[in-house]
Symmetry: C2
Subunit: 338 residues, 2 copies
């Protein structure tokens, strides 16, 4: 089917829609609940409490070093579930496809979604496909929603963040944003930034398992707006101050170089396989070791802490000992990054 | 804010994104779980079994007689949950907005979503907003996902359909499809078709409550592809034959007139506030009365039945007594109808 393209009729609910669903989605996602093709997936509830989230993905280009829109659409929603302390279980996926998209391209993306779902241990149990005319979408948009289990697990809320908490990141920041920017603009960086796009359920489980219950106060994946947006949301949302040590924040050399050339602050650039954790001070060392012991957290670092001083503000200490405010990002930043 | 328009920066994850969320979405959806603004909504599980579904909405134009993309996005997903026999409980909503959309337009749509959610008895607990550049979307696309409760309720599956079943519709077919087509093309029909867009959870509850457990075999809302797609899916999917009496199928006069002018078969046109039911023969009368006794089912009718003859085929008996095959719709039909 790789020579063919998506037609408006693939979205009409008629014969071509049914063929597309059977030949592509059901085959790759290979889930019995999905294959039942009922109006809704019927599932065993994963426990007394659920986590539920959604994200739309409009990344441009559709493919970039380290991933594609399909892998991103699975990891993004899985990670939002994981950040609440939930075990990701079920995903839905809704596709808005532009007429003319090559079926071979769609198949590569669907294959990547299936692989990412296996990696994350989630089942894609519900879906929808719409087709819009040429010019109606930029190739393909995917919206995923996810359901996770909170039974027996930690339910994390940012209001648990308190002065004294240590802040950790699980790896270098900005990889995803710069990988997408470089791919979009065709910039010849060597080495090229590679997206960190990965499902973080396992990393979160390792972290939570290593710390006494309640000592991991909050988790967040720094996607749009990057690390700067997360720490500013925490500072203003919880009325605390945040201090960061600039030279403790891991940034890959190739990302730093790309940022300098493009005039982008790496702290504003998106990650898709990295988390920020606020941890009780007594568990910071334990948390760091747990992250570093996981393949997706090898580059973890303690980057600062929470303070009762300067509530609502994030203060960055530069390598030379100067202080500057790290503001909430404004303006267009990096559009279409996820 | 009605003079303003959506900018790329509204989707950047920075300051304008936060303002849009607080000033628009949180205010209208007014849900404490949503307002907590965590990465995932944390919910009490609605029971031991869940229904989970998603739909993307790309309807053009955004507003049409009887509804808009917001009302449609709530009703469509609520109805998919209801068709499985579930009680709709929680919704997520992801917005893909084109740069330049008037904030006043977005606010009207969000207001309509909030109203439809109240009507349906569901809470909008999770959301996401992305902005794409001019030309990147046709104004606005909305993808909703929904979670419903199946505890204590009937879990409906189309494989319960059996020869002897009676088929009912809850009201006239094709209203939604023709309302959208007429609005899109600016066709001056008098009276103009009006979309039937409505949440059907209450109608389903009335129907299931009136029949002995297990006697309502399957429900489906005939959206894309209309009644013809539903009955053909049932016939081919379950290996049964279906007989329909053409003059028993309710079609409003204005819809029939519009269909004739446009060369559209009303049985191919979408409904968004109507259901098709396959009911055990002994409960058909009871089911009909239950539907007719509900405000959204006043126009209900028995339209045919399931047979062991001609498996996989749908045979329509015309008012003159002739028989013709009602095929699965093919081709482009009515694009961008939902």
């Amino acid at each position: 089917m790789s020579d063919d393209v998506i037609l408006l009729a693939h979205g009409s609910g008629g014969l071509l829609t049914h063929r597309l669903i059977s030949d592509l989605f059901l085959r790759h996602f290979a889930d019995p609940v999905l294959a039942a093709q009922q109006d809704a997936a019927v599932l065993e509830s994963p426990g007394e409490r659920l986590a539920f989230t959604t994200d739309a993905f409009v990344v441009s280009p559709l493919f970039f070093p380290g991933g594609d829109i399909g892998r991103l659409a699975v990891c993004g929603t899985v990670n939002d579930l994981a950040m609440s302390g939930a075990t990701p279980r079920y995903l839905s996926a809704a596709f808005i496809i532009e007429e003319g998209l090559a079926l071979g391209v769609l198949e590569r993306i669907v294959t990547a979604m299936a692989e990412a779902a296996r990696e994350a241990g989630v089942a894609i149990v519900a879906g929808d496909t719409k087709v819009v005319g040429r010019g109606g979408a930029d190739g393909l948009y995917i919206t995923t929603a996810g359901v996770g289990s909170l039974s027996g697990g930690h339910a994390l809320r940012t209001d648990a963040i308190a002065p004294g908490d240590r802040l950790l990141v699980s790896g270098p920041v900005g990889d995803h944003g710069l990988a997408v920017m470089a791919a979009r603009e065709g910039l010849p960086f060597h080495p090229a930034p590679v997206s960190d796009c990965a499902p973080l359920g396992g990393l979160v489980a390792a972290l939570l398992g290593a710390c006494p219950p309640g000592d991991v106060h909050a988790l967040r994946d720094p996607t749009r707006g990057g690390l700067a947006a997360v720490v500013n949301e925490w500072a203003s949302g919880e009325g605390v101050g945040i201090d960061l040590m600039e030279d403790a924040i891991p940034v890959r050399e190739e990302v730093r170089a790309a940022c300098e050339m493009l005039g982008i602050d790496p702290l504003h650039a998106a990650c898709e396989g990295c988390l920020v954790a606020a941890v009780a001070p007594g568990s910071a060392e334990r948390a760091l070791r747990a992250l570093q012991g996981h393949p997706l957290g090898a580059g973890a670092a303690v980057i600062g802490g929470v303070t009762a001083d300067h509530p609502g503000r994030v203060v960055l200490t530069t390598p030379l000992g100067a202080h500057r405010l790290l503001e909430m990002p404004t303006g267009e930043l990096l559009p279409r990054i996820c």
